[in-house]
Amino acid sequence: MDYDEEPHGVYFFIDNKSFYASCESVKRGLNPLRSILVVMSEQANTNGGLILAASPMAKKLFGISNVSRQRDLPNDPRLLIVPPRMNLYIKKNLQINDVFTEFTDENNILPYSIDESLLDMTHTWHLFGNSLRNVALKIQEEVRSRLGLYTTVGIGDNPVQAKIALDVYAKHDSDLVGEIHYKDVPNKIWNIQNLTSVWGIGKRTAANLNHLGIYNMNDLAHANPYLIKEKMGIIGLQLFATAWGIDRSNLRQPMHTKEKSYSNSQVLPRDYTSRSEIEIVIKEVASQVASRIRNHHLQTGWITLFIGFSFATKQVTGSSGFSQSMKINPTDDSYELGRDLTELFERNWNGEMIRNIGVEYVHLSPKVGEQLDLFRDNQRTIKQNVLNKTGDQIRKQFGNAALLNANSLCNGATAISRSNLVGGHNGGNSYE
């Protein structure tokens, strides 16, 4: 294979080892690699407790994986259980990315997730060492000495090579550094036997590949690309390129989404069967998303409601829930959106037990003025608009729970209990 025409750069994919658990270990004056600690969310909707992260030692000793449940935890006195503090992890992520800006400029850093970043080091790496591995070690040392956290680095000639080097090789390397270059593709990518260990291949994609007689990366690299494209579309072709270590993405080119949308969803603390309780939550979520679009001076013309059934209902009916959409006159009004969504719910609900609720607003357009309606009291519409905006301002300044509808005090409402959560887990602000 001639790679001369392919983009050649220097990319570092950097991941924090057991990030949440490491942050909590450092806060407690413990070494993140030696502590035996798990971060457990004990929100009402986690069914007794959900393990968000386990330290490397906890994983090694007890085989704990993330997203295990409290019941999977051994009753071992060596184990330390701590609650999550999502705001702390966001703060630490920003501090880590700050360290990275000393190695390459901000435009060449792509924060990929809360604990992973991709750095384009093409033009700067040689300023910090005489080999890529040395530069990686220097970045690791800088993060460790300043923040106490251990990082894992994958190095590649393009982003996908760096990501595979990180996921497959760096985690097992004594220095926590992995490297893949074009010349290493046959040795380091084709010999990967487990398809799901490769970025972009989940269980379902792996099953689809298996149907085509592809069981490892060597099979994928030597499969017929036309057949893959025919069966799996453009994604299949992208995976074929991955198998050859090819990635032509340009990090500096901004991504344009086809259509932006805003959504929020939540897992309820228990199974809901009462219509009034479910409708309260639908209205709360509707109002939450409405507030977000108002913040961006947008209005929606298309609303979608997702309802997920409880485990027991799924077993009996075989259906996991429903998703229904409706075209509406463009609006950003919490009341109208809540009313339309509850109408959608009432039309489609047949008394099933419910565990998940989600709301999405699509077909967003800029809100340039108030659309008056001949069949409505326009004074009322204008008043409602002012009320929404005032409510948003109060919540922005004093927090989400500062001003709520009275029905948020009724049984089943979740807005108050969720007001301090970040990404569905404890934000941790109350400790400061």
Partner: protein, 109 residues
Amino acid sequence: MEAIPMNSDVTLVGNKILANIDHLFLRVPGTRYWMMIVNNVFDYEYDWFLSSKKKYQQERSQPLYVISNYDLEFLEAIVNYVGKRNLLTTYYRNFGNLVWPTAQRKIQS
């Protein structure tokens, strides 16, 4: 602006810590409770935790407070204020050979 005297800061922070202890110290029978104060050399702050443990079970550690005023004299004043109002054993971590500035005793349990 006039500087607020340190004593009122001590009262303010101390009372906040005591309120958090009240909230988390559930006095579950058969459970040992203690406080842990960590000298956080990375964030330049003192992190307070309330730990609890039932016999033969896992330890739980809950954040109590973060003192971002990284000054041992201030910490000593807070520890004295809180210590007079609750009897939980306090452990210290990562203080090495540091000494309390006023009492001139080594920082230890």
